[in-house]
């Protein structure tokens, strides 16, 4: 996103670049046989990654759509459910993810300038931040279990919707619907975080072994795109699930 000149549609960069990389080709072990040159390969990979991100957005879009429709339909119950979420753990997690996005940017920058050890360092820090997020998320889930806010036979919701001091009782069934969506959305997001951590661990190992050079670091860039995507989804989840009903 930031360091890659080849966003989809920017064909101008593409037509200029091949001449510059032409003489490297013969030596480039990363160039796959069916591409004409490294620039074409890079552009293809980058476009592919952006398309994948589009599919991911559509994937989460279905759940966001369901959440918004239900929130309008069952406002009180959703507001009451939202007030039961732990805003501090959510906020800390948001901060953790924002920092991890910064480390990803720094990793890409390090790759671009060919600093192998710095690159590995930032990748490892990113993975650690991702794991921190997951651990905190685990504590949050545990809290839900204790409060019987996990949908299913044991679900129990007696809390009321605090509407600026006015206590409004809500239908526990609809609160269960809220928590169903909460778990579906954050669970799917956590799954993407787990995949991201695995991916970045792999990238860190590859970087350690010296797979990447300042001429070839497309996997780092594309992995970074994925990480940013997962972060951005959280940046939408946090206000929609945690913050939206706090008007006191």
């Amino acid at each position: 996103m930031h360091n890659s000149p080849a966003t989809p549609g920017s064909t101008a960069a593409q037509t200029v670049a091949p001449a510059a990389t032409m003489d490297h080709e013969a030596f480039n072990p990363a160039l796959r046989h069916h591409f004409a040159d490294a620039q074409q390969q890079k552009n293809a990979a980058s476009l592919g990654m952006w398309l994948f991100i589009v599919t991911e957005i559509m994937f989460f879009g279905g759940m966001f759509c369901a959440y918004l429709i239900y929130r309008v339909a069952h406002f009180n119950a959703f507001a009451a459910g939202s007030q039961q979420l732990n805003i501090w753990l959510g906020a800390v997690n948001t901060a953790v993810l924002i920092v991890s996005s910064v480390t990803v940017v720094l990793a890409v920058k390090a790759a671009e300038s060919g600093k192998r050890k710095v690159l590995v360092g930032y990748l490892v820090v990113t993975v650690l931040l991702g794991l921190t997020f997951l651990v905190i998320k685990g504590f949050e889930y545990a809290e839900k279990f204790e409060k019987h806010h996990v949908p299913g036979p044991t679900f129990n919701f007696t809390e009321k919707f605090d509407d600026n001091g006015k206590q409004i009782p809500v239908n526990p069934k609809e609160a269960e619907l809220f928590f169903s969506l909460y778990f579906a959305m954050t669970g799917m997001h956590a799954l993407h975080m787990i995949i991201g951590c695995g991916l970045f661990t792999g990238l860190a190992i590859m970087a350690w072994k010296g797979h990447f050079t300042s001429d070839y670091f497309t996997p780092i860039e594309n992995g970074g795109l994925y990480w940013h995507l997962v972060d951005i989804i959280w940046i939408y989840l946090f206000p929609l699930l945690y913050l939206i009903s706090r008007h006191t």
Binding site: G48, M58, G62, P151, G152, E174, L181
Partner: protein
């Protein structure tokens, strides 16, 4: 199947040229190949297997419906049979058939590339298909699933006690196989075109696949998450669509059709692309109105995303929502009509021959016209209330799906068979089977329009006796249709060994795929082609002798 042709192609004295088929003979060289042409053949084998499995279930349905009573099988069995017919045909045959077989084989050839942009992802997509297929077969052998291919809640989440989760997982996985195919095509078409091959010079087959791929990557994730939510509701008792928790079963239908209506265009658009290639070649003409045919594919893909709720006119959506979706439905009719008119106009002042692929193209135009026009009936609110969820709908979508997609696929298979295998199919038998398919198809499905209007609901195991005559007609037609489908299987296999050797361009057709050897070498072209001509430049290609090298 393809491996058997290797000794034969080496036989007749000619110096054996290395091509994608004889470049490696081990099983490993097939199962770990990243060659798009070999992957296309792997897809061909698996898709054909599922087609005949789905066809077997179709025969069971038709046999059960010979009599009004439910006498051949139990009601539950029947419900599983039509569900598995639907799921197999939609998810494992119609969606992948043209893009994953013909598209996979031809997209790189037509754009002058050595392979698709991501060959390993292409192979992964086939493996995902196989895993999903195996999972579905496992689900089938374990008692099957009975929700209908539409997975409607709350039946699928609360009432059905069959293997919904496993079937859903299979659909989810096969969805990702289709996302990867679409992603690969878009990147290939954007980034890997041969020098000189501008967008306005692309074959219409490529335009159609580009539009299809857009739908694949935009729509498939939505159905994937929807099916996941259904599975999650069954496993973890989350209640996203559960009306007892205030969830809305209509939301499921909205999300489901948001993908599954565009999915109809995933199926039909690639076949439309095939038809454009066939009509031009056998009329020896440029396509009439190239730009309009090309853009109509994109228009269909875009407008196709705005019409989903026309499946839900009687489902409980508001009056005004229904009116808006009805109006948009007619909008999508325009680009489809534009295609039919342009194909017909292409024939004008052509130099037309009636080889088998062209017969399929004629058949496609006829059947798609009927299928498309009856779609307008269903888009008309007052009519839809009466005929939705009846055999009228069944007839309509079979006219588009079988009459359209399968006719296009078979036409394309005959047309590119010499390119794929280096052998010609037997023309006489092929024409006979084309005729059988056309006649059998109409006999099977035309009576169902009548059946639907007189009120027979779909998914019925038993029915009032007055509907029997029409059902018997339909079953009789189905047996003709079955012969029409089995015949090509036989002569295609026969031609692998005994068919006449095809040269690089037996049809004397335009298009880059005909400029390389038949079968093509592993990297498609010995030299990257440079394109200096418009698509379908039949005025620049001298005609051959009247008799094409076809077997009799």
């Amino acid at each position: 199947m393809a491996t058997t042709s290797i000794p034969a192609s080496q036989a007749p004295g000619s110096t054996t040229k290395l091509n994608y088929l004889n470049n490696g003979h081990t099983l490993r060289s097939w199962l770990l190949t990243t060659d798009h042409k070999r992957i296309a053949l792997l897809y061909l084998l698996s898709v054909t297997a599922f087609f005949f499995l789905g066809g077997f279930f179709a025969m069971l349905i038709r046999l059960e419906l010979l009599t009004p009573e439910g006498d051949l099988m139990q009601a539950d069995t029947y419900n599983k049979v039509f569900t598995m017919h639907g799921m197999i045909m939609v998810f494992f045959f119609l969606i992948p058939v043209v893009p994953a077989v013909l598209g996979n084989f031809l997209v790189p050839l037509m754009v002058g590339a050595k392979d698709l942009a991501f060959p390993r992802i292409n192979l992964l997509s086939w493996y995902l298909y196989v895993i999903a297929g195996a999972l579905f077969l496992h689900c089938m052998l374990n008692g099957g699933v009975d929700t209908g291919w539409t997975f409607y809640t709350p039946y699928s989440t609360a009432a059905s006690n069959t293997n919904v989760i496993e079937a859903g997982l299979a659909v989810f996985i096969v969805g990702f196989s289709s996302i990867f195919t679409g992603l690969n095509f878009i990147v290939t078409i954007h980034r890997m075109r041969a020098p000189g091959l501008t967008w306005s010079r692309l074959p219409l087959f490529i335009w159609a696949h580009y539009a299809t791929s857009l739908i694949m990557i935009l729509g498939t994730p939505v159905v994937a998450i929807t099916i996941v939510l259904v599975a999650v509701e069954r496993v973890f008792h989350l209640g996203i669509f559960d009306p007892r928790l205030g969830g809305d079963p209509l939301l499921f239908q909205h999300l489901f059709w948001f993908y599954s209506h565009p999915a109809v265009y995933i199926m039909i658009l690639p076949s439309m692309g095939v038809i454009s290639e066939l009509i031009t070649c056998f009329s020896r003409k440029r396509v009439f109105g190239y730009k309009f045919v090309a853009l109509s594919s994109i228009a269909i893909a875009v407008i196709g995303f705005l019409v989903w709720a026309h499946h839900m006119f009687v489902a409980g959506i508001s009056l005004y929502a229904a009116m808006v979706f009805s109006f948009l439905t007619f909008l999508v009719g325009v680009p489809s009509a534009v295609k039919v008119f342009n194909w017909t106009a292409t024939l004008y002042k052509g130099s037309i021959t009636y080889a088998t692929p062209m017969l399929y193209a004629f058949g496609f135009i006829g059947l798609f016209t009927i299928g498309g026009l009856t779609g307008l009936f269903l888009g008309t609110l007052g009519i839809d209330v009466h005929v939705t969820d009846t055999y009228f709908v069944v007839a309509h979508f079979h006219y588009v799906m079988v009459g359209g997609v399968v006719m296009g696929f078979l036409g394309g298979m005959h047309f590119w068979w010499p390119k794929i295998t280096g052998r010609m199919y037997p023309e006489y038998w092929a024409r006979l089977s084309a005729l059988l398919v056309f006649v059998g198809f109409n006999l099977t499905f035309f009576p169902q329009f009548v059946l639907g209007y007189v009120g027979m609901p779909r998914r019925y195991w038993q029915y009032p006796p007055e509907f029997q005559v029409l059902n018997v007609l339909s079953t009789a037609g189905a047996s003709v249709l079955a012969v029409g489908y089995i015949l090509p299987m036989i002569y295609f296999l026969w031609s692998l060994r005994y068919g006449p050797i095809a040269d690089a361009n037996p049809w004397n057709a335009a298009g880059l795929e005909w400029q390389t050897a038949s079968p093509p070498p592993t990297f498609n072209f010995d030299q990257t082609p440079v394109v200096t001509w418009e698509a379908y430049n039949y005025d620049e290609i001298p005609e051959k002798e009247l008799e094409a090298p076809v077997a009799q």
